[in-house]
């Protein structure tokens, strides 16, 4: 990673475990990453790969029990969010770190007006009066491209369409000028044209407001369009991270390669069948002692089943957790 700028958010060795009746499930296993100011970090992986859980663990949004953030450090604004205590964490949530969720249809409270829900963080974190918050709320709705903002503040969420509701969610997340915005599959529940509008909006806002964004998705097409850097997750671990261009041209982890192959293309000859990765992502009953992808991996060899690969450097700012050397097409030494 290039030095010079201090990361705005720094995660080290994050471990999250769910206690269930069937025993423990290790959802996040020693995840470490840095987020630089103004950067858009894409996080990809299948359902169940631990993307959302990782991000929710950061700011204590997982219900506990069953979730238990067991180890790690989350440095934000000079404090460790895992040990700073509930009050400090509340001050960070919504103010320092904004959150957008997947389903805009259910993420807003149906019985309060949009204005009320927008004013809440403004009055809680910035100490604005109701009248000041109302003015700011209208500005925010305007910023996210909702026409006739001042009047629409009086409306209830059900009076907005899905895309408009997601805009409202974005406005709420941006209300207190956060340094980091975490977007958890914000376009998955929207249809494609609305998805494009939301992407355009976020790209636009990012340049206007200069915040860092973590964008969780399983859609590689979206990632290619907006991310600066990509983190691929599998089995609750980061298996590869690279600048976006590098990841798409030189994937160095078999899982990333398989993911890229599954993207259907409209160009070229029509494929007879969609390409899939056979099998299911693992449910980890214990911290992984071997490569979690080994049983689905075409490159797997003996070592993959007895040792969990660490992240190996694979280029500038590019790491991959794999024992296979794709340049030599042979196992790595050592």
């Amino acid at each position: 990673m290039p030095d010079g700028v201090a990361p705005v958010l720094s995660v080290r060795g994050l471990k999250t475990v769910f206690r269930t009746r069937g025993g423990e499930v290790h959802a996040v296993n020693s995840v470490s990453f840095d987020l630089r100011p103004g950067e858009l970090l894409g996080v990809v992986g299948e359902s169940g790969s631990g993307k959302s859980v990782t991000m929710m663990s950061l700011i204590g949004l997982l219900p506990s029990p069953p979730a238990d953030v067991r180890a790690g450090q989350v440095l934000f604004d000079g404090a460790d969010l895992l040990t700073c205590g509930a009050d400090h964490l509340r001050g960070v949530r919504g103010a320092g770190i904004g959150f957008i969720f997947q389903d805009p249809m259910t993420s807003l409270n149906p019985v309060f007006t949009v204005g009320y829900q927008l004013r809440e963080p403004l009055m809680t974190h910035m100490g604005l009066t109701r009248a000041q918050a109302q003015v700011r709320a209208a500005e925010l709705l305007d910023l996210v491209g909702i026409p006739d903002a001042a009047r629409r503040l009086k409306d209830y969420p059900h009076q907005f369409s899905g895309g408009m509701r997601q805009r409202v969610m974005i406005a709420i997340a941006l209300a207190c000028d956060p340094k980091v915005l975490i977007a958890d599959e914000p376009t998955t529940a929207l249809d494609v044209t609305i998805q494009a509008q939301i992407l355009e909006l976020v790209r636009d806002l990012r340049h206007k407001l200069g915040m860092a964004i973590i964008w969780i998705t399983h859609d590689l097409g979206v990632i290619a369009g907006i991310a600066d850097r990509v983190m691929v997750m599998y089995g609750g671990q980061i298996v590869e991270q690279a600048p976006v261009q590098d990841l798409f041209t030189r994937p160095r982890h078999p899982y990333t390669r398989a993911l890229l192959k599954t993207v259907p293309s409209v160009r070229g000859a029509r494929a007879e069948k969609l390409s899939v990765i056979e099998g299911q992502p693992p449910i980890l009953r214990a911290a992984p002692a071997a490569c979690a992808f080994a049983n689905r991996c075409p490159q797997a060899f003996a070592r993959c089943c007895v040792q969990n690969p660490p992240l190996y450097p694979a280029g500038p700012g590019h790491d991959a957790a794999c024992f296979w050397d794709f340049d030599k097409d042979a196992p790595k030494d050592g």
Binding site: R93, L108, N109, A175
Partner: protein, 335 residues
Amino acid sequence: MFTFTLRRLLIAVPTLLIISLVIFLLLEAAPGDPLGDVPLTVPPDVKEKMRAALGLDSPWYVRYVLWLKQFFWVEPLHLIDHLFGTSLGEGMQRVISFQSRQPVMQIIAERLPQTLMVVGLAYLIGVMIALPIGILSAYRQYSWFDNLGTFVSMVGFSVPTFFTGVVLIIVFAVKLQWFPSVYDTTLKVTDWASFKAQLRQMVMPVTVLALYNAAQISRFMRASMLDNLGQDYVRTARAKGLGERVVVLVHVLRNSMIPVVTVIALGVPTIFGGAIITEQVFKVNGLGQQLISSIHANDLPMVMTLTFIFAILIVLFNLIADLLYGILDPRIRYD
């Protein structure tokens, strides 16, 4: 909302007319004779005259229409007379109880305060303890508090009030002698001592009924809270950095109250019905007890009128519940 209310009120008219007819016919079909208690030594022709005096010699439809006229026309006129000192209803035949030969409405007016005092207060207390218990049980699901609450409400709901009532009487009135076992309706609250006496005699019936009501409503509250606590908007509220108190008592509670308010509103008519059995157990001579004794005595006008008033209240509070639903939930619009 206004047109909706008006429409509902208009629909209520035929509904209530049909209900009144059904009640009337059911009472007609029921076995028993208002003169059943008249001694056998009374000659049959005298009995026939008594029957005619009660109006029982005319066919049922005549008596039904007569009752309708008395209930919907004569009684309101008497009410107006009573309130404004006019004499519109003078000389018109009111609904008269077979048993006491008093106007039925007068008896109801005498009995209503007792019922409201005991049963109404019990309902109010029941609601007030049920809501916090329900909220806390849901928020701390499967905690010892929740488990205790589940157990107590299961007991409170499944053990009938005539049993808990008698148990309380045995323990607190007979053994410990803390409270009187019979509710004294003649007691007038004039000073501190009589106020304390009134409180003491209310404790047991109110406790029995409040527990029963609270058991039911706290379960509703808990279930509704649980439904909402897992919703996405709760996560959003937390992600906004709101405190737990605001998240639970503003965001979740407001949503959870929607079905619960309906249940509470629908339960209000039962207050006027008097907790029939509890009033019997504690000898509170309210409306419930009146209904039972009138049924025993085949006092048709009394039973008919009381039952019909309950029907009106049920229809009315159904409407109120619907309106409250519309007020609490912005997604519901009736117009």
